[in-house]
């Protein structure tokens, strides 16, 4: 999958800002700095998608769809960084709705 377009990144950035706002969590960076984080993570994932895929053992790597592997990838991140942080979980739930609305 190619990198997100600039417009897609803008929409992701907007969705993230709305999710942070929804739970009134303090964000000590400005829009430009937040957008830089979105851009950098998209670029990193684009550059490392083959390595991430290779890290998945067979038969899962070959048998699962890209969408299914993305779900696993996201689930592991939730477990690692968000499961003990109720605010982050709530923001994530809000974010899913916002991203769907922005990207459709």
């Amino acid at each position: 999958m190619a990198e997100l377009t600039s417009e897609q990144r803008r929409r992701v950035n907007a969705a993230v800002m709305r999710s942070f706002s929804a739970y009134e969590e303090q964000v000590p960076i400005n829009k430009t700095e937040l957008r830089a984080a979105v851009d950098a993570l998209d670029t990193f994932l684009n550059n490392n998608q083959a390595a991430i895929n290779t890290a998945i053992p067979q038969p899962a790597r070959g048998a699962l769809s890209t969408g299914q592997k993305a779900v696993i990838f996201t689930a592991v991140q939730i477990a690692r960084y968000m499961i003990d942080n109720p605010t982050a979980i709530n923001e994530l739930v809000h974010l899913l709705g916002q991203v769907r609305e922005e990207m459709e």
Binding site: M17, R18, A22, V27
Partner: protein
């Protein structure tokens, strides 16, 4: 009345949202607020009658604003007047005068603290020639396309003061 005296106060509940690009009504710990998005310009509109004690000079529009999440960056705001008066404005169309702006106001360092942002107008055409007793509208826009604060701006009240 004298300079600095309050003429009118519009709380968040007084908003008359347009059909699109409107600030969204919300509450913060029970405080009614209007949320202005960070990624798109949104507006709120208030209707008032200029009080009989208005001296006829310039007017400062004071925006009482907090931020949902931002603790750094700045915000930009535009305010426009529309005289409705008596026979001055057909209600079937809008007739707002040119906007005055206050830009690059640094947000409070604590989310939840309220700041006051002043947008100043001189009497006459600058405020669409609104006089004592005139019905008018005030349109408030967060210029999100050019400001830098992340997340929603929360408008709690709009105050009109004699300049």
């Amino acid at each position: 009345m004298a300079s600095g005296d309050t003429l009118l106060v519009f709380p968040a509940q007084a908003n008359e949202p347009p059909s699109a690009s409107y600030a969204t009504f919300d509450t913060r710990n029970g405080h009614p607020v209007l949320d202005f998005d960070a990624a798109a310009n949104e507006v709120a509109i208030f209707t008032g009658v200029m009080p009989q004690h208005y001296a006829g000079g310039g007017v400062d529009v004071i925006l009482h604003v907090a931020f949902s999440s931002a603790t750094t960056g700045d915000s930009d705001w535009d305010v426009e007047w529309e005289l409705i008066g008596v026979g001055d404005q057909d209600l079937d169309s809008d007739g707002f005068a040119a906007a005055n702006s206050t830009d690059n106001t640094t947000v409070p360092g604590t989310s939840g603290h309220v700041q006051q942002i002043t947008v100043s107008f001189t009497d006459g055409a600058d405020m669409d020639s609104v006089l004592v007793g005139d019905l008018f509208r005030l349109r408030v826009t967060r210029d999100a396309a050019s400001d830098t604060a992340t997340g929603d701006a929360e408008l709690l009240a709009v105050e009109l003061r004699e300049a």
